[in-house]
Amino acid sequence: MIAKAKAASRVATVRFHPRVLKARHAMGDRVSGEALVAKDGFSARYDLDRIAGVFSRPAHKLAGQSYVGRILVLDTSKGGVASAWMLAEMRSRDKVPLAIVFNTVNPILVQGAALGGIAMLAGFDEDVTQLVPNGATVEIDPQAKTLRIVAATGR
């Protein structure tokens, strides 16, 4: 048991790499919060139960988890054009992520973030979903186009 705990502690130590990641594209205001990370896509229409504020598509890697008030770190935007309206509608009911970070993004999510006033970063040299631990506290600075890992509390 103790050996297992020590091993887990070593893993946690090894996993934390405080660093600043630079994006090529950015929008919105500076925010900080807990990261919800998955190597998966994002569509407000396809993937979410927007009333409950959770990922609802069964095949999604974050199925069942709440996105409200968290900084989503995902691979890419997916699906239809509805997300362009939906982020603003979600914002009006406070069922919205704090920010969204993508490896690659399509115009729809950018247009939606612009209308909904949601911070967004996209375009990294490495896979951002592998660099940010799930549950880490991160800070998004769109002016500087950076994501800073403040604390890797990794769950």
Partner: protein, 410 residues
């Protein structure tokens, strides 16, 4: 972004608050993508069903529509994607009055803005197809991928706020698929399989969409052995866009920019082989239950030829479970005149116009009607409806019609 004098005047509010808001939104998006300037567009197509808009979005539209007449009018032909209902048959869907009220308010606002309520996602078949090299601002991913790929037009995915902004300003930021550089292929897909049915075409599109995986990937497909029909490419493109967020594909020897592979081949293309096995695997992944609660033909809306085929399959049958067929307001009168509507409805089906099934409060109407297990020939729709609590199943039009009669999918 570099703005000309007219664009600077718009941004300064010299042409009123509505163009100012519209171009401000466009500059924000253009700056994000590093657009150097605007490109004039000839048409805009707005996706704006009220399930997506919500009360907040409808109020936003009403605020724009309250501006002074003349300041608020779109500058170019601006049309709409399907609405969230067919008012004449909303009761059959068990839609609530508040849904219809929200729809009416949104429509009133659009009309005040000068938008033409075409309510279709197949405008390239029914309204006015864009031509090769024509810059447009289209919403609905199926419309964009068809227009870019089959017509050779130039559009990004323009969500509702951006498409409306393009209508109001007559331009859009010049980035993405407006530029030659982004239209070259990034992955080369070889196949020896030419699909037969529409759901096979959709499934192949879905397989390639998954391989592509993001908006900036452009597949070039080699090996299709005949010229596909417009309906086949409609399902193929709509599914590719849905599964992969893809906005442009090329078919060697078929689509206008790819007479030869070398015309569109990009440097360092990824290479894949796909065939019947991958298509069947995708279809099988949705074959999870034999029982069916509802059969739906929608997404994209049906052409007159699809309704003709459906009418022939419905003759002499009596359905046990609801069969819904959704088309555009431009096609429906012809379906009525040609007797297709009557034949489908004589078997117990219903033909809707001007809406799309998944844009019509799909979750709420599922609960109101007790629908969960849904059969369709639309690969796009099976990809979407899982998130709405359905168990969607993909089958041919023939098997779906049989399922409507027996309640079971063979």
């Amino acid at each position: 972004m570099r703005l000309n004098s007219e664009e600077k005047a718009m941004l300064a509010g010299e042409m009123g608050p509505v163009p100012k808001l519209a171009i401000g939104h466009q500059v924000q998006v253009g700056d994000f993508f590093g657009a150097r300037d605007f490109v004039p567009v000839t048409q805009a197509h707005i996706m704006a069903d009220t399930e997506s808009l919500g009360e907040h979005g409808v109020q936003w539209l009403e605020n724009l529509a309250a501006a002074k007449k003349g300041d608020r009018t779109v500058r170019i032909p601006t049309i709409t994607d399907p609405r969230g209902t067919d008012f004449s048959k909303a009761r059959e869907l068990k839609q609530a009055p508040w849904m219809l009220d929200l729809e009416r308010r949104a429509i009133d606002a659009f009309v005040k803005l000068g938008v033409s309520m075409t309510d279709t996602c197949i405008n390239y078949q029914t309204v006015l197809a864009a031509t090769r090299g024509e810059h447009v601002a289209f919403g609905d991913t199926g419309v964009v991928i068809y227009s870019n790929s089959v017509c050779g037009a130039r559009s990004n995915f323009e969500g509702g706020p951006s498409a409306l902004s393009a209508g109001l300003t007559g331009r859009t930021p010049r980035y993405g698929f407006h530029l030659d550089a982004h239209r070259r292929a990034t992955l080369h897909v070889r196949t020896r399989y030419t699909p037969g049915s529409l759901n096979d075409w959709g499934a192949l599109g879905g397989v390639i969409g998954r391989l592509a995986g993001n908006y900036w990937d452009v597949p070039v497909i080699e090996g299709i052995d005949r010229a596909p029909t417009s309906d086949e490419l409609k399902h193929f493109g709509a599914a590719m866009a849905s599964f992969g967020s893809v906005a442009l594909f090329h078919l060697v020897g078929i689509t206008p920019e790819a007479s030869r592979l070398a015309d569109v081949a990009g440097k360092g293309m990824r290479r894949h082989e796909v065939g019947r096995k991958e298509v069947k695997a995708l279809q099988q992944s949705y074959a999870v239950d034999a029982k069916v609660d509802v059969v739906v033909f929608s997404a994209p809306q049906l052409s007159i030829f699809e309704l003709r085929a459906l009418a022939e399959l419905c003759d002499g049958r009596r359905f046990k479970v609801p069969l819904l067929a959704v088309t555009s307001p431009q096609v429906k009168p012809d379906s009525d005149r040609f007797g297709y509507t009557r034949r489908i409805e004589a078997a117990g089906g219903t033909v809707f116009a001007g809406m799309c099934f998944y844009q019509s409060y799909a979750r709420e109407i599922a609960e109101a009607n007790g629908w969960k297990r849904l059969a369709t020939n639309s690969a796009k729709m099976v990809n979407i409806l899982g998130g709405y609590g359905y168990v969607p199943m993909l089958a041919s039009m023939e098997d779906c019609v049989e399922a409507a009669q027996t309640g079971r999918l063979a």
